[in-house]
Symmetry: D3
Subunit: 241 residues, 6 copies
């Protein structure tokens, strides 16, 4: 693969440096601080004894997620959603994606009738916050589930596989891995890829504003994503020790 | 392709019957009623003389969309969003998708500093409402732009190509085209594909709850989608006469 | 009665053409599309097994209504109430009127502890939407109650009489029947009249902005309304076959 | 007219004692406390230099109203609307009526491009609060307009006539004037009548829940209302000195 | 203490005239109208049979408060909070203070599992509305509790002591008692002091915008407050007879 | 001062360990992470070129604050305010306090017509979050103002003095400094003290639920607060280097 003039100087297929610091929140059942370059997301997992009402008496559990961003996580200050009185469409779209992605890696009947809420709060944003939230959220989830297993509250592990996510896109005509904000804001096409530890796909979202894309380009982005996800899964494993 | 036991008796690669009735709303600059089987969506395009504030003095126009569903469009009655006091996350996600998809087929500088609002209201739902909204919304948009051209308000056609959408999924282990509600609610994987008249991709959203999917399956769904979109584009052309 | 220069060329006591198409919604227990000239309202009735909380253990049922208007039902686009985050005062006033009017024609103890929700959604507006909603809403209600009777869920018919509504007003100094938008927006006095099949009054709302009115004028409008309602009741009967 | 067993012992055509105390609020341009028996409403008029946006550059003024009720104005405490986060449909319906009624007695071009806001706050409720609000609101309006005239800000009096309102209904089979809560809550039919000082009608709202009514009954209620309004107009005159 | 040029001509340590009129609301279990000069607050106490959910099965009761201000209680009209759709931060802060202050004078186990809601509605404002609300709210509370005692619903008096409040501040460099609006809006430091009948402190809130204050000044304000509270407690006793 | 059995084993007059890490947020004009024991608050300062509307053309600037808490900052998860659709009364009270406190240390005319928004987001809570927000918020403000000075946008330093805050209370009958959550939740009286670098008072808030307090106790808490603030001001200086 050729070198390219990415704003960060990274190679086309080069991830930002990844760091996942586990157990950073005193009260949460599971937590981590994930850093993808300058994107920092604090993830926590909270176990609730009861499932959501629609699962009562089904024997099934639930995993859901909420997403937020500190007002000054971004270049210029964004209005605080709590002050605005509602979550934006973007926020809702992202937290629905995180929840769906994490649930896809869980055997909800092994989890039993309880709910785990994953909170992903972006402390600093430089592109790719939804992907970082999924990758870090999975570590928080894993740690919380470990507590349930250790305490004997559940006996069989409901977590089926790793879940991690990365964005790829066509930047300046080239397929690139792990877009940062400078790339994301000008990319013709960008996509978010959620994969399992075994490289199975959970969610693919590709979108073009202005420039449409071909199946070939789609394939190239998928190739990049598979490589990136392998790196993220390794980072998850390292963080869990 | 083999026959399959789809609930509707359709072949795996068979669309529902499509009908697009143009100019059904007296007041709107463009409108149509699109029927994909039992899914019926009323689409209108409203031209506004001013662009949204963030485009002032840029020379660029905007296309946006809003989506709604009548309370009894569905099997059991849903709470009216206006009464609930907010649009659900699902609604916001869908209308963001419709707007993004239609904008991708428009040359915003040829449109000039004005906004076209596409309203997609589901009168009856049987799966695939977001795809029908995009396909029908494009017809409403086309009709409204025709008025602008005819009146000489704009001189060069801002519409670059057709935009249409269809859903595909893995139902009972088989890739199927144009999911209806019975299929959609039980499909392991489902995806929404937005393509142009030239089969270029604008948006791909594939999602698995429970069962992950492979690149092969992804390819099969794309094959189905391309065939389906060709049929929808033909229906758009027929409706426009 | 003399001829008049109504914008539509109608006689003073001439209704717009009325059409009521029953059973137009696949999922609803009762439904119709009512057209009063260019005013089109889709009405559905949804049966809920439980009454509202304040009627629990009273043996009484409830009929209520919700009203909405598609954003582009009107000459220029109105903001979607779901997006605005609340129903306007006008919407609330109208839906309270529809519910009150339909309840007045129902024996709530024969209905038993259940609720029927009437949704009236204006697809196209040209004046008189609240009256069309009542007239069409009654047909939807009638059809839904028929289902309850046919299924043996209730044994005695809770519907006491037809309920229908029409607007009349003083336009250009003349009392006229069934105002359309061109008349409604300039009428000195206008009124909404809800009557039963036996010409008993359920609701009378007369209002003057600027020009007050006399008892004589009130009487003339009532005369017109009685004639108009008779026509609407006939149309309801025809629609029900 | 025969005597009747009204809960209060009043005759059928007997109003409650009426008292209107003007200028009770230090800051308002006009104000009064109106008492209709045990119904007490504090009314104020606030002059704003600018008309609402839709009247800019039309030369016309506006009169509007807001209505509220203290949480413990009623037998049992009602939730505070400010805490609930919205005004109920009932509140909105009432304040729209008050505004419409008062505007009908005003020459908006003589008022000029300004707005007068009438606030009607129910301190204690015993039926008939919307009618008391109109009658008292008119006194507040009159006092505020007097200030404008005295200061020479406007030169010709925009107030065309008195506006007052009273409720009548069919209680225990008899037409009665000025319903109190005990009557209002059980009356088969009740109506609100807004008339001018010259007995011209501005607004008539009659409504039946359960029992429909005839034209004869409507006439009897109108007779009662005309007599009641004459008394209220006299009270307005007395209060203004 | 020296004389001073207070806008009202009052001495530095002189309260405004205080008047507390009990039992002014027909429906409330306890009520009063308190007047501190031109500040008028209507206070009611409503007894609810059930405590708030978090106290269920604890044997403890609750006292809470809500605060409101009529739109034209002030020099220029304020937007109605019910119309704005939310209570301002100021309103919430004040009602939390009132509730906390009154609860501090109550033995919640003697009150038992019930709730008393104190509503304080400012009819006219001239500074010091939160203090007047506490002083008047206590009288309403006392009257409501008397009813519970008289009816034998509770046997031991849950009210431990009087609770009253007054504001003091540094105005034009001098410590003054009971600020009115003219003083409050320009005072460098102002404080609200909630004390019991035995001069014990319940709440002290001192605040400086611009000019900080010393411990000496704090002591002087406390001296003033103690004297003022004694007067208010006497007024409470007089009102209760 | 005697030793005491504080849950943490601290002496009565012993602060928790304080750490202030400056410049932790890439995008903000000023920022720090303040840790008071297990209470961690991320503070940022955002400079806006325009003042709030009410200060336009006054030559004065503004400092305001917003406060938030991550859902799992606490022992059990709290509902996200953005999802709930509003900020709680507690949140509003706290952010109003922070803003007022920081403004009191600023010469608003030296700041000029601009606004600085301080965001205080609690990552982990163990009591005293509002005090930590003020102390850390001042450091963020100082850093942002330094940037304005360095860039020559303002020429004279608008910051008059340090501002810091600490809580004290009566715990188990003893006056203690810097309450942690275990103490705060059971203290009879607790207070928040905002002081300047010269030990002048800006805000004092003392509150008793159940147990009232005396002037002597108030004095003891003030003594503790003065000592604590001196330590915090030293930490602020150290952080700024």
């Amino acid at each position: 693969m050729r070198f390219s003039m990415r704003p960060s100087g990274r190679k086309l297929d080069q991830m930002r440096s990844v760091s996942i610091e586990p157990n950073v929140m005193k009260h949460a059942e599971g937590s981590c601080l994930i850093r993808m370059g300058e994107t920092h997301v604090l993830c926590s997992a909270s176990i609730e004894d009861k499932p959501p009402p629609f699962l009562k008496n089904t024997g099934l559990g639930w995993v859901t997620a909420e997403y937020g961003m500190l007002p000054r996580a971004t270049t210029s200050r964004n209005r605080r959603e709590a002050a605005a009185g509602k979550q934006s469409g973007r926020t809702q779209e992202i937290q629905r994606l995180i929840g769906r992605a994490l649930r896809a890696g869980v055997d909800r009947s092994a989890l039993g009738e309880r709910q785990i809420v994953i909170d992903c709060d972006v402390l600093q944003a430089d592109g790719g916050t939804r992907c970082a939230s999924i990758t870090g959220g999975w570590v928080a989830l894993r740690l919380a589930v470990n507590k349930l297993l250790k305490a004997g509250i559940i006996v069989s592990d409901p977590i089926v596989d790793h879940v991690a996510a990365v964005s790829c896109g066509i930047y300046a005509g080239q397929p690139v891995l792990d877009l940062d904000y400078a790339e994301d804001s000008t990319a013709g096409t960008d996509g978010n890829f959620v994969l399992t530890g075994r490289s199975r796909m959970i969610e693919v979202q590709m979108s073009a504003e202005g420039a449409s894309f071909s199946r070939d380009e789609m394939g190239q982005l998928l190739d990049l994503a598979e490589a990136g996800i392998a790196e993220l899964v390794a980072a998850q494993k390292a963080a869990l020790g």
